[in-house]
């Protein structure tokens, strides 16, 4: 067993992992919170990506939309990570051998790098437009959609 899977096993055997696993209501509660944060993330991401594509809230410049969407992105992302980590704890050993789970984590890493290192700086610039801007917005929407889809596929693979 790899070092990572051993760590996962420890998380599953921890008091927290066991508590979630043996509780009837914690899993549905975590899933519901995860979905709520996902909806919030979807809305906040889409407002800026649509604006980058030249549609949506066009009366304001891109940097204003970026600044005003950011608090909701910063509310949704930690919520998703926390609920995701807690759900991971409850079935960590199973997930460690699941290729779809790792594909989701890889996609998530790419999406976070794209958002923090490319999309954010780009959107804070004055009036970004053109092919690169459009590509970044399309990649952002596509990545987040694929990550959400992968979440459902984890359960059946």
């Amino acid at each position: 067993m790899s070092a990572v899977c051993q760590l996962f096993q420890q998380a599953e055997q921890s008091a927290l992992g066991q508590a979630i696993q043996h509780s009837a209501w914690m899993m549905p509660a975590l899933q519901s919170l995860h979905l709520l944060c996902l909806a919030l993330l979807g809305g906040a991401v889409l407002m800026l990506d649509l604006r980058l594509l030249g549609t949506g809230l066009v009366s304001q410049p891109v940097p204003v939309i970026e600044r005003e969407a950011r608090p909701w992105l910063h509310a949704a992302a930690p919520g998703l990570m926390l609920t995701g980590l807690l759900m991971l704890c409850s079935e960590a050993t199973k997930l460690c051998g699941n290729p779809v789970f790792w594909a989701k984590m890889a996609g998530l890493s790419v999406a976070i790098v794209l958002a923090v290192c490319v999309r954010g700086p780009l959107a804070r610039r004055d009036a970004p437009s053109g092919g690169l801007t459009h590509s970044v917005a399309v990649a952002s929407i596509g990545l987040w959609a694929a990550i959400a889809l992968a979440g459902l596929w984890i359960s059946v693979s």
């Binding site: 549905p28 906040a44 949506g56 005003e68 459902l152």
Partner: protein
């Protein structure tokens, strides 16, 4: 309602017939197709509930303060409608895959009632609240009546989402012992064993 009575019995026969169709069987038995439908339903949540949250947060005065409320609703509403179409389409197919169990699901029935409540709130918003929008289009925070309607909307859609997630759980299924009010509300006596 007693077993075998009129409308309820007819609906139960329809659900059983629906479950017997080739399409329903195929959806139910294809694990990957069913999971993909659920996935598309979740993408619908991101688009539909996500854009509703953004508009409601604007009406609460908590998001996109630079954008007038009228522009927010006008520009975002088409995406909300697209999200609704995706949600309704994938939702109908998910129902079609498991019609008998879903029809008698406590959570599915609560979800439908909550969606009706959300529709009434939307109707109220358009008929009453939005009538004098010109006065508060750029006012921050918007008037109390606007914020109240937005908070009600957010609360109802959160409840719809939670009820939807709960449909997947079996605690309240008719084939287990249930309290009288669930037996009544989910019409468990009508349900086939």
């Amino acid at each position: 309602m007693s077993p075998g009575s009129g409308l309820a019995a007819t609906l139960d026969l329809w659900m059983a017939a629906l479950a017997d169709t080739a399409g329903s069987t195929a959806l139910r038995e294809s694990v990957y197709l069913y999971a993909s439908l659920q996935g598309a339903h979740v993408l619908g949540i991101m688009l539909f509930v996500g854009t509703i949250f953004m508009v409601d947060l604007r009406l609460l005065g908590r998001a996109f303060p630079s954008t007038p409320a009228s522009e927010m609703t006008r520009r975002v509403l088409p995406w909300t409608i697209a999200g609704f179409v995706l949600m309704a389409f994938t939702g109908l197919l998910l129902f079609y895959a498991l019609p008998v169990r879903t029809y008698h699901s406590l959570w599915f029935r609560m979800k439908l009632l909550l969606i009706i409540a959300a529709a009434v709130n939307i109707w109220h918003f358009h008929r009453r609240v939005q009538r004098d929008r010109a006065r508060w289009d750029t006012t921050l925070p918007p008037p109390r009546v606007v914020r109240f309607a937005a908070a009600v909307s957010m609360g109802i859609w959160i409840a719809v989402l939670v009820a939807g997630r709960m449909i997947a759980y079996h605690w309240t299924d008719c084939d287990r012992p249930q309290p009288a009010w669930i037996v009544w509300f989910a019409q468990c006596e009508e349900a086939p064993p």
